[in-house]
């Protein structure tokens, strides 16, 4: 059985651990380089992207994480996790760093304040069955997609909310919050185990 690590500095770590377990893999929390070395796939959870990247710097995990992602460990980010995987961000705070890996430009809080947060249903390329239940919470949007990245999900407005580039998957919404485990299964079956 594959072991998936959830970066556990801050955010909805618990929901991701449960989603991984429900999707047929072993789930562990990752806070140290030793823990990072023991996993087959990495999840960057929802949370505050500024807080998570600062904690990664404070605990000397920024460069190890960046290196692991660049070296091709299968990685899946939701919401804040997507921001942390973007090569370029808009509306970040001064000096906000990302691990990068996805050749995309992501705008933070692209829908506005919390009162604009919403749920919807959307189709996801590579996942069959009914449309996914997707919760967007102060969510980012992928505004520009580089040639290496493939768009997997869009809203009817045309906004891009899911992309994959080789070993890296990023979505604007929170499949872990709506018990929509098909995205975790997609990650584990077609990116980690494949």
């Amino acid at each position: 059985m594959k072991t998936i690590g959830v970066l556990a500095f801050q955010g909805d770590v618990r929901e991701h651990l449960a989603a991984v377990e429900a999707s047929g893999a072993n789930a562990v929390e990752v806070r140290t380089a030793a823990e990072l070395a023991r996993i087959d796939g990495l999840i960057l959870p929802g949370g505050e992207s500024t807080t998570i990247s600062k904690l990664a710097r404070m605990f000397d995990m920024f460069d190890p994480l960046k290196a692991s992602i660049a070296s091709g460990i299968p990685t899946f980010g939701t919401c804040a996790g997507l921001i942390l995987l973007a090569d370029r961000i808009l509306d970040g705070i001064d000096g906000q760093e990302t691990f990068g890996g996805l050749d995309v430009t992501v705008r933070r809080n692209a829908f506005g304040h919390q009162t604009e947060s919403f749920e919807t249903r959307l189709a996801f390329k590579g996942i069959s069955g009914p449309d996914l239940v997707a919760a967007f919470i102060r969510a980012p949007i992928i505004e520009q997609v580089g040639p290496e990245a493939e768009v997997l999900a869009t809203l009817t407005s045309g906004a891009v909310v899911g992309v994959r580039q080789k070993s890296i998957l990023g979505v604007s919404f929170h499949p872990e919050v709506t018990d929509e485990f098909r995205v975790h299964r997609y990650f584990i079956d077609s990116m980690v185990s494949a």
Partner: protein, 299 residues
């Protein structure tokens, strides 16, 4: 496969969901845009905008109300993390104003002077989510029934004395454990004793936890205090006067953020507890006469 997109704004799931995203984080009280910036730079997951920190409200006395909208606007423009603001218990018009100002969360807070000594705000009427204080499980469930999407154990704000925070989180956690151990036929009377709806009591008994995120507040002043609350089962902490009433707010804010992430690692806690300068002076809760205890507001 047809894409039928009906966007549902401000559902219970997205209201409770924002609190899920704040887990493992520190929410800091700030009274100016400059303090908000310092909090964000230190790694806060959100800021609580208010006019005076609880220690000053306690020292200066008088009626404490919702903050000036200009101040809240200033803080919203200064940071990119979520901004919360406080309304008085029962003051639904202050809440309407805060929603119009686009705050991300409203704290219906006992730290301000209550506007209604009978009713809390009907929080289901709002698109913006609410966090409410509680000292025990029944109080937490009554607030959730009224629409609260997050619970904050109260502690005793503005004291720097963590003992009430400890008491409240232990009480709530202990009552949840006791509920989970009951048989189905005992839950009817449990609901009566908790003065909470039966369906919600059953939900907590089955899942062994609250249906919303619970942070701890009220008296947290050091990294060790924050880590202790996390070890007692808090999902995160609010720090009010503890940061900006201390000798070195920047260092203390960063240290508390680190302590909440590594709350189970005494080596990290030892290292982040060094060189922080003076903690806030503080008041022992036992020296505060009962009528002046903020935690007794709300029911």
């Amino acid at each position: 496969m047809s894409e039928s997109q009906n966007n549902n704004v401000a559902t219970t799931r997205v209201k409770r969901g924002l609190a899920e995203m704040l887990k493992g984080g520190v929410i800091m009280d700030v009274v100016t845009p400059e303090q908000a910036k310092i909090a964000e730079d230190a790694g806060a997951v959100a800021v609580m905008a208010l006019e005076r920190v609880p220690a000053d409200i306690r020292a200066q006395g008088g009626v404490a109300r919702m903050s000036d909208p200009d101040m809240i606007d200033g803080i919203i423009s200064a940071v990119s993390i979520p901004v919360m603001a406080k309304a008085r218990i029962g003051h639904f018009v202050e809440a309407q104003i805060l929603e119009a100002l686009n705050v991300d969360y409203i704290d219906e807070s006992e730290v301000l002077s209550p506007a209604d000594y009978v009713n809390h705000i009907d929080k289901w009427n709002f698109k913006v989510p609410f966090v409410c204080g509680a000292t025990n499980l029944g109080e937490a469930l009554r607030r959730i029934t009224e629409g609260a999407a997050m619970i904050r154990s109260k502690g005793e704000a503005g004291t720097g004395d963590v003992s009430e925070a400890t008491k409240h989180i232990r009480t709530i956690s202990g009552e949840i454990r006791a509920l989970a151990a009951k048989s189905n036929d005992e839950l009817y009377v449990a609901a009566k004793e908790l003065q909470a709806p039966y369906e919600l009591v059953v939900e907590v008994a089955r899942s062994g936890k609250l249906p919303v995120v619970m942070f701890t507040a009220g008296g947290v002043a050091t990294p060790a205090d924050a880590a202790m609350m996390m070890q007692l089962g808090a999902d995160g902490v609010f720090v009010g006067s503890g940061i900006f009433k201390s000798g070195d707010p920047v260092a203390r804010a960063k240290a508390i953020v680190k302590a909440v992430t590594f709350f189970n690692d005494p080596n990290v806690l030892a290292s982040v507890s060094r060189g922080l300068g003076e903690a806030m002076v503080g008041i022992n809760v036992n020296d505060i006469p009962a009528p002046h205890r903020l935690a007794d507001r709300g029911w």
